[in-house]
């Protein structure tokens, strides 16, 4: 039985707490992915980022990803957390931590976890830059407003 934790928070992400959450005496490997907000995107200077969430579905979707990880790899614990609301530049917006007996499983599961989270968990990012704002995503041509 894999231990798991999925959260959405408007506070800062505590990566040390995440690591201790997945800590286990049987774990020989722990991977931690941390995504941080950047000050530049597509040539624009980003001054502020804001994330919007469909929280009930986001938590269910994270749980589905965690269950798929447990089916595919022998992992001991899975933790995922996404920050929402305003996230200052240079701070963590998302983190995925995995513990496993060996590093192969820990790396593969963490990679799958963050890639799938970014593709399916209903969270949207809005960039605010000088002179405008912009929802990030492949179909955002109509999302820009000034």
């Amino acid at each position: 039985m894999t231990k798991s934790s999925y959260r959405v928070t408007s506070d800062g992400i505590d990566t040390e707490a995440l690591l201790s959450e997945v800590g286990n005496a049987a774990a020989g490997a722990t991977t931690l992915f941390v995504g941080t907000t950047r000050n530049e995107n597509e040539g624009r200077i980003v001054e502020r980022l804001e994330y919007e969430v469909y929280e009930s579905m986001a938590l269910e979707e994270m749980r589905r990803i965690g269950e798929e990880i447990a089916r595919r790899w022998r992992v001991i614990a899975v933790s995922m957390v996404h920050r929402v609301g305003v996230v200052p530049i240079g701070q963590a917006s998302v983190a995925v931590a995995i513990s496993a007996a060996h590093r192969e499983e820990a790396f593969a599961a963490c990679r799958y976890g963050i890639d799938t989270l970014k593709a399916t968990v209903p969270i949207w990012k809005k960039e605010f830059y000088r002179g405008g704002e912009h929802w990030v995503g492949p179909c955002h041509a109509h999302g820009a407003t000034v």
Binding site: S93, V94, T120, T145
Partner: protein, 81 residues
């Protein structure tokens, strides 16, 4: 039957609503609800976004039931690049 519709991110801003109730005949599918929404909210794009019913992604043929929670899911962009 009555369906609760949720709007997020740029679709929420374009349509100016967070949620709306839509009355549909029994047995209607997601596709029929989308057609109804496009008429009621002309700001919706011609190309449909992804759809979720009761917090699970579905395709347009998915049948709806009374009191379903239906969400329009614009392209997600969680995390960072």
């Amino acid at each position: 039957m009555r369906i609760r519709v949720l709007f997020f991110a740029y679709l929420r801003e374009r349509c100016g609503v967070r949620e709306a109730d839509v009355e549909l005949p029994e047995g209607a599918s997601v596709d029929e609800l989308w057609s109804r929404l496009v008429t009621r909210f002309p700001a919706l794009p011609a190309a449909p976004p992804r759809f979720a019913v009761n917090r699970v992604y579905v395709d347009k043929g998915h049948p709806l039931h009374d009191n379903d929670e239906f969400a329009l899911i614009p392209p997600v962009s969680g995390g960072t690049q």
